[in-house]
Symmetry: C2
Subunit: 121 residues, 2 copies
């Protein structure tokens, strides 16, 4: 029996909507999610968990209250637990997120930018 | 203040030894590790945790007791908790591993292939 790997580019090709993370894998109680983002997100934090961003395509800026970080393809950043942050992508950017299952994209804020946290692709 | 992202290619350029995972980031109690591998590893499992492999360069085969999986660049696979597996790379392959801090590369086997699990780069 052959198992199938998860091809991130193929998964990304399956949807076009932005700011709507899709789960591609689960490791213990963590989810690996891919997302397409463009423009500015809202300030938010995750009081209970760190959050990892990996840029798969494009460029991502993450503003933090005391500075910012610019990520290009193949770069990774860990937003610390409780650190307010605002992701920004001047052009469409594809990212891989790793965080505990159930983590909301808007953290402890729930509003019109809040996406479902349980959509697999 | 500008934060620095973690550039996986730059980190990989800093070492040449194979089968010696280096930690590049921590998220909660999980480590992100990069490794260069070539040849066959030993059969082992991780009784307490799933383990994620992402291929950054090259090709990785993972044999499992009931099948196998072939990963190319940009592909991901979750080896389930307790599943015996044997990674194989016919040519040098660069991988990103995600697993709990302290996880040994040889799982519950400790032998000459066992690498330190606490080396950052």
């Amino acid at each position: 029996m052959d198992y199938q790997p998860i091809n991130l580019a193929e998964k990304l090709a399956k949807f076009s909507e932005q700011w709507s993370p899709k789960i591609v894998a689960q490791m213990n109680d963590y989810h690996f999610k891919i997302a397409k983002i463009e423009g500015e997100f809202i300030w938010h934090d995750h009081p209970e968990t760190d959050e990892v961003f990996i840029v798969l395509k494009g460029q991502l800026e993450i503003e933090l209250r005391d500075g910012n970080v610019l990520l290009n393809e193949g770069e990774l950043f860990v937003v610390p637990k409780g650190a307010e942050h605002k992701p920004i992508a001047k052009q469409e950017c594809h990212i891989l997120l790793i965080e505990p299952a159930g983590t909301l994209n808007t953290g402890d804020v729930v509003n019109e930018r809040t996406a479902a946290s349980d959509i697999w692709i």
